[in-house]
Structures are given as structure tokens and as C-alpha cells.
């Protein structure tokens, strides 16, 4: 009985190690074997459209509402201390440092990550990947690399759009609705936000999250069991693993960037 449990544990550990190795292999080979620029460009543009442009609606709407909620909550709390003028800086710092990269990455994992996994999984199930191989085309170059690069490029851009729309949404509530002075809102924000410390650090987080989410998504698709159930499970794993990885990496990056050690 005990031996069985130890065996199962060992088997599971080995499987996880093998899976991690395979995902690393896919990542390295896709980055190394990226297509020639002329061939890459149309594939990349297409994937940027699917991964980035089609994610815009959910990013813009979420950014606007989260910004509006932040503005409302910030005002409600700060007004008790007579500091409602500081809503602008509170909203900007929250969004730029944390909410924009993290929430964008979570939404990106749910929309684009799951779509990437499902698409690649279905290509595997319908033998399109095998067919590419037999035509003499490396699927890492043709299928995986453009999607990986599209994810790396789109995530930081979407995160920035999220932050801008969120700040605008907060201004809509705090300035236009609740009556905070417009000059105070924007001036406090300008004074409090440091370009390198806040904007660049937020962008670095977005780049890391984009890398992690896209990597998990393409690996899960490429390595899935090519059945409807297998694709469904892989899609779920993408969203769960990517979300957990984003939250975990966020803590590590925040500690490195803003921790006072």
C-alpha cells in the first residue's frame, strides 16, 4: 500500500518534470526557429490581430469599469480624511503598478490564452500539425513562434491601454460625477507617478506575464491529448495555471521592484 503510494508519487513527479522539460523545449525551439522575417511578418500580424486586437473590447470595458470603481471607492474612503484630491494619484499608482498588468494578464489568459490552446489542440486533433510536419514545415516555426511573439508584443500594449482607460474611467467618476477639481486630480497624479518606478515597472510586469501566459497556452495546446475531452482539459489548465502563475510572479516582481530590503 505504502509502496504503491510512493510509486504513484514518483510517477507523478517524473511526469511533471517531463512536462516541464517538454514545455521548455517548445519554448526554446520556437524562439530559436522563428521564421524568416518576410515569412514571419504576415503570420505575426494575423496573430496580433487574433490575440491583441480581438482582446481589446474586454480590456477596454474592464479597464473602464475597474477605473470607475477605483475612483468611487477612493473618493468614499478619502473624503472622510479630507484628502479626496488624492484620488488621482491613488488610482494611477494602483493601476500602473498592480491592477493593469495583473488584471490584463488574467483577462488575457481567459480570452487569448484559452483560444490559443483550443486552436492548437484542435490542429493537433485534426492532424494539421502532423500534416505540416509531413509537408516539411516545422510547426514550431509556423504555428507556435508567431503566437508566442504575438503574446509577448500584445500583453504590454493591452496593459497600457487598460491603465489609460482605467484612469480615464476614474476621472469620469471622480471629476465629472463627484466633483473633484480636475486640476487637482491630474496634477496630483502627475506629481506622484514616477515614469521609471511606476510606468516602466508596470510594463516589465506586463512583459513577464505575457511571456508566461502565452508560453503556458501554446504548450498546453501542443501537448494536449488530441480528443475533445483532452482539449477541454488543456484549455481549463491554461486558464488555471496561467492565472496562478501571474499571481505568483506578481508577488515576486512586486517584492523585487518595490520591496525595501
Amino acid at each position: 500500500m505504502l509502496i504503491d503510494k510512493i510509486q504513484r508519487l514518483g510517477h507523478r513527479t517524473l511526469s511533471r518534470c517531463a512536462a516541464f522539460g517538454r514545455s521548455g523545449q517548445i519554448l526554446v525551439q520556437s524562439i530559436v526557429a522563428r521564421p524568416a522575417p518576410l515569412m514571419m511578418l504576415p503570420l505575426l500580424v494575423k496573430q496580433i490581430y487574433f490575440v491583441g486586437v480581438l482582446s481589446l473590447v474586454i480590456i477596454v470595458v474592464s479597464g473602464a469599469f475597474i477605473g470607475m470603481v477605483l475612483g468611487l471607492q477612493g473618493y468614499t474612503i478619502l473624503v472622510d480624511y479630507g484628502s479626496e484630491q488624492a484620488v488621482g494619484q491613488m488610482v494611477a499608482l494602483s493601476l500602473l503598478r498592480e491592477l493593469a498588468p495583473v488584471v490584463t494578464a488574467l483577462l488575457f489568459a481567459g480570452r487569448a490564452g484559452s483560444a490559443l490552446t483550443a486552436e492548437i489542440g484542435l490542429m493537433k486533433a485534426t492532424e494539421q500539425l502532423a500534416s505540416l510536419e509531413m509537408i516539411g514545415v516545422d510547426p514550431y516555426r509556423r504555428i507556435i513562434a508567431p503566437r508566442l511573439y504575438a503574446g509577448f508584443i500584445c500583453m504590454p500594449l493591452l496593459s497600457m491601454i487598460f491603465a489609460v482607460v482605467g484612469i480615464w474611467g476614474a476621472a469620469l467618476v471622480a471629476v465629472d460625477w463627484l466633483g473633484i477639481h480636475s486640476g487637482a486630480y491630474w496634477a496630483n497624479m502627475q506629481q506622484a507617478v514616477d515614469f521609471r518606478g511606476d510606468v516602466i515597472n508596470g510594463l516589465i510586469k506586463a512583459v513577464v506575464f505575457g511571456f508566461v501566459v502565452t508560453w503556458i497556452a501554446v504548450y498546453q495546446g501542443y501537448d494536449c491529448v488530441p480528443t475533445s475531452e483532452g482539449i477541454s482539459q488543456a484549455t481549463t489548465r491554461t486558464v488555471v495555471y496561467a492565472s496562478l502563475a501571474v499571481l505568483g510572479f506578481d508577488f515576486v516582481l512586486t517584492a523585487l521592484m518595490f520591496g525595501d530590503f
Binding site: Q29, T126, E127, Q128, A130, S131, E133, M134, I135, G136, V137, D138
Partner: protein
Amino acid sequence: MVQEKPTGEVAALPLDDIIVEIKGMTFTRGSRKIFDDISLKIPRGKVTAIMGPSGTGKTTLLKLIGGQLRPDAGQILLEGQNIPTLNRRDLFIVREKMGMLFQSGALFTDMNVFDNVAFPIRVHTSIPEEMIRDIVLMKLHAVGLRGAVALMPSELSGGMARRVALARAISLDPDIVMYDEPFTGQDPIAMGVLVNLIKRLNQALGHTSIIVSHDIQETLSIADYIYVLSNGKVIAEGTPDVLKTQDSEQVRQFVDGLPDGPVPFHYPAPELMDELMAGGVFKC
């Protein structure tokens, strides 16, 4: 050359010019041995058929030749190059000489029929688009689907999709074309055309064709040489005439489609009565 099989069949190998040679190959999936130390030779420029009951690993054999799977032991030599030992880059170079028709068609769902057939040409050559158009139309005309050039794969029937996939497989006129169940799902008219097409392509262009099929009459009519697989072994080989006249029980069972005989119809399992009498609920 006359070859004596361990099972007693006598077969004549038609050519000494071999393009693919499999030597002592063993392949296992899970705990099941799909191939057990098999050896076979595919003659250049001929139509070679791989036949046998379902689940004997015919498609797996094509994937092994294409380097999509690696055997546990043995060699798969394509013009002297051992496929399982090639690195990824060399493997893709070797595959440029191959064309494969997949059982499902495996068309690219984001491209229309024209772009699917043009894809290998665009990727591997720098032929101008005007010429690509002509080549694609000729290939599609050969499979009777020139009129379907603008359709998407989702708008094709299963049989049509496989014919488009055939046009794509031969678009670059490869040295070897592997056909996985090319006749499945075809109506009698299309099947007759395909049988002729495969034979004519083989004769006109000197392709080496490897056909995996269950359609005995069609395959016997065009194959120059046939291997019959069962239980991980080559149970018979020879020209169609040799196989048709063989008295071997195994070959007769397959050619005549008999359920009972030396080739088991059932996947390995305990006796039905033992299993029924054991009772209980099903457990994996």
C-alpha cells in the same frame, strides 16, 4: 528473387532498387507491441500496398517512415538515411521528398482549397504565383475538384476533403507518396478515378507510392507489391497475383474477409464466458 517467409508463403520481390528499407524494427505503444522485429522493403517507382486487419499498425508504419514516430529498435532507411537517427532539421529536409495523404485529410482549416494545395509549393519553392495557379488548377483537375477551388474545408464532404488532400500531397511531385486509406468514403465514381489517378501518377512521374488500405479489390488492382501485416509481423508478401493464388489460411482469411481464422478478429482479451461469469462492475 524469391523470398521464403517464416509462415511458409513464397513471394517474388519485383525489384532490387529499394527506396525504403525497414530492418528489424520494433515499436511498442504502452504495453502493446505494435511491430515485433519486422523487416520489409519498398521498391522505388512502384506501388506498394500495406494491408492487414484494423489495429495492426498500418498507419503507424507510415508515421514511422515519415519520422513522426521513433521505433524502439531497428532501422528505417530512406535512400540509405536512417530516419530515426536524423535530427529535427535533417528530418524536415528529408520530408520535402515525401507527400502524405492523411486518413482525415488534415486540410488547413484557415485556408481555402486553392491555398491548401498551393501551400507546399509556396513554402518550398519560389515559383511565381501565376505558375502556382496553373499547377494547383491542374492538380485539382486531376482529382475532379477544380470547381471547388474557392471552397473552405468546412464546406467539403469527407471524400472531397480527402481528394483535396491528395492534390496537396502530390502538388510538389514528391519522390514518395504515402496514402493512408485513400479510398475510404469515396463514391464508386470517385473511387475508380482515384485508383486510376494513383496508378497513372506512379507511371507518369515515377513516384514511389505506399498505400495503406482496406479496400482489397481496388488495392490489388493497382499494387505492384503487397505486404500483409498482422500481430506485429509481416504474415505475407508478394505481387497481387501471388497473393491471390496463395493457399495460406492467413492470407485467404484476409483476402476473402472471413471473421474466423488464424488472424484474430478480436483485440486480445480474456474468454468472453470467463469475463461474464466473473460479474461485478467494469473497472479500468
